[in-house]
């Protein structure tokens, strides 16, 4: 029975737009977007522990591709091209950076997002002369939601598949000790590259799907580094190396942000900051690990 729960859940979510207000739908889109981002991020970073801050480099690129092509090509084709560009970008980035360890990788990915933003800005200003671009697509909020939901389902499904597959084991070994991984016969570069490209492709696609809601796109809007940070925080909060961890981090945090911006617009950043610090101290391995620990303690207490 439990095996079918995700499917039932997916159907419930797919039917949700018929039961909620427009704002409710907006919330669902936001929540599902972050579930997708956090899960896709964790696909690569969760096990390998390479903390990537390049999320927005891909997410923003996806949105930009749509902004550039939406008037010349059919929507479906635009999405495919966005995914391909994301994959290509990830391949190039991955080939050059995946040998960087630890904090250097973190900083590189942070710089990458900025570089992409600066280069696109320069190109638009000097070559095309149109920095702001418009996305006038007849994609309704419901359609965006369904597309994003499908992408989230694919991401989680892919994660589940990878977890059960040799690739998942390889990624976990790499996260623990790359030297051991190599000496056990795991091809490091290829393994990391595969996961990185898969993750980045989904991130790019997510940006492409979300973009029609923004109508107007310019680099300062789409390459907003907060998105990268939020993604990391959400995934880590839930537990980045577990299948449902990123989703479980994304949903409550997303609603917490919404609650704060509605009820405490002036002190929102202060509460948010304190919340983060609290998470780091109270739930260091994510919510799921915290629950596990609690259960273990409870069991021991009962025994």
């Amino acid at each position: 029975m439990r095996r079918y729960l995700p499917i039932v859940g997916f159907l419930v979510f797919a039917a949700a737009p018929f039961a909620v207000s427009d704002y409710g739908l907006g919330l669902l889109i936001g929540a599902v977007t972050y579930v997708t981002l956090a899960s896709a991020w964790a696909l690569f970073s969760g096990h390998t522990r390479y903390i990537s801050l390049a999320t927005v480099a891909f997410y923003g690129t996806g949105a930009y591709v749509v902004a550039v092509l939406n008037e010349t090509l059919p929507y479906g084709l635009v999405l495919i091209i966005a995914a391909l560009i994301g994959a290509l970008m990830a391949l190039l980035v991955g080939l050059s950076t995946l040998r960087l360890a630890g904090v250097y990788f973190v900083i590189f990915t942070f710089g990458l997002a900025e570089l992409v933003r600066q280069l696109i800005t320069w190109y638009e200003v000097n070559v095309t002369g149109t920095l702001g671009r418009y996305i006038f697509l007849d994609v309704t909020a419901r359609e965006i939601y369904w597309q994003m939901l499908a992408l989230a389902a694919v991401t989680i499904g892919l994660t589940a598949f990878i977890h059960r597959h040799r690739l998942g084991l390889a990624l976990r070994v790499i996260g623990d000790d790359e030297v051991v991984a190599a000496h056990a016969g795991i091809p490091l570069a290829r393994t990391k590259l595969l996961a990185f490209v898969a993750s980045a492709t989904i991130l790019t696609l997510a940006g492409a799907i979300a973009s029609p809601r923004w109508v107007y796109v310019e680099p300062a809007i789409v390459f907003n580094s907060t998105v990268s940070f939020l993604t990391v925080i959400m995934a880590l909060l839930g537990g980045a190396n577990r299948l449902w961890g990123p989703a479980l981090g994304a949903v409550p945090l997303f609603f917490a942000f919404e609650y704060l911006s509605v009820n405490l617009p002036n002190t929102y950043p202060i509460v948010l900051g304190l919340l983060f610090i609290a998470v780091v101290f109270v739930l260091p391995d994510g919510v799921l690990a915290g629950i596990e620990k609690l259960r273990a303690r409870w069991k021991r207490g009962a025994a």
């Binding site: 630890g102 990391v232 002036n266 900051g273 780091v280």
Partner: protein, 288 residues
């Protein structure tokens, strides 16, 4: 023209270097990847303006108040917030993740407090804005003073690190944190000093920026990023490297702005930064 580029670039680079000194200490010695670094500099900038406008305290005197205050704040922050994370992480690599998360929270916290206390307005003061002629190139006096502060602070640090016992301990912790205890170094104490000193430098950097630049409460991340770029280019924990990299970056940006296209200055910065990361992740002046 070349003289102009050179002098303007050096002055700009000096302010960059000053900004990066604190971060390289915090990150190199205390192993704290401090994403709230820019907010710390901003806080000092706001305090300087408040002292100047509220109490009429001249900025150069204000600096003398802000620097030790920064040290005290850094000391407390490390003891209360960072130390438990360091202790929990042990020798594993998780301190990186934890410090990113915790300081990200700190970033929001400080930004929120700044917005609440000082508002969202652009803030600026006019202080010693008149130009001084250097080899035919007019440079604002406040920029020259900031450059001087950078040279003094950076020079003093380099000497302290290379010529004193205390500096030796700091460098030992920066290079091999795990074996430093073997030679009798109290790593916790050194790390706390490093973090506090880094915060003091962040405060000095922020306060000197406040004398010549307009800023607002949401600008912190710009400072963090510039500082990070320089720290990586100079080599983590390498003070002399940060000084040279800061100056170099100033020269490069000025050169790109005058000779190529001002629109590419930031792109050039990040290109060089990424190239350094790939080519020499230990920094341009690191060992190895």
């Amino acid at each position: 023209m070349l003289t102009t580029t050179l002098i303007l670039g050096l002055v700009l680079g000096g302010t960059y270097a000053l900004l990066a000194l604190g971060l390289t200490l915090q990150y190199g010695i205390s192993r704290i990847m401090n994403l709230a670094y820019g907010e710390m500099t901003l806080a000092a900038a706001f305090v300087l303006v408040a002292l100047f406008q509220g109490l009429g305290l001249p900025p150069l005197i204000g600096l003398l108040v802000i620097a030790p205050a920064g040290y005290a704040v850094g000391w407390m922050l490390y003891a209360v917030m960072m130390r438990p994370l360091v202790a929990r992480a042990g020798t594993s690599g998780r301190l990186e993740v934890d410090s990113i998360l915790a300081t990200f929270g700190l970033l929001f916290l400080i930004q929120g407090l700044l917005l609440l206390v000082f508002g969202a307005n652009f803030t600026s003061i006019s202080y010693l804005t008149h130009g001084v002629n250097i080899l035919g190139v007019p440079v604002a006096l406040n920029r020259l003073i900031a450059f001087g502060i950078c040279l003094v602070a950076g020079g003093a640090l380099v000497i302290a690190l290379t010529r004193t016992r205390w500096g030796l301990a700091l460098r030992a912790v920066a290079q091999t944190p795990n074996s430093a205890p073997l030679v009798g170094i109290d790593v916790n104490r050194v790390a706390r000093q490093g973090f506090a000193l880094g915060t003091a430098l962040a405060a000095v950097g922020g306060a000197s920026i406040a004398t010549y630049q307009t800023f607002s409460a949401t600008d912190g991340v710009i400072f963090t990023m510039k500082a990070l770029v320089i720290v990586i280019m100079g080599g983590v924990g390498n003070v002399a490297g940060a000084l040279i990299a800061g100056l170099a970056l100033g020269l490069i940006e000025t050169f790109v702005a005058t000779a190529i296209d001002p629109g590419l200055t930031l792109a050039a910065t990040f290109t060089i930064f990424l190239a350094v990361l790939l080519w020499r992740p230990q920094g341009l002046f690191g060992r190895g």
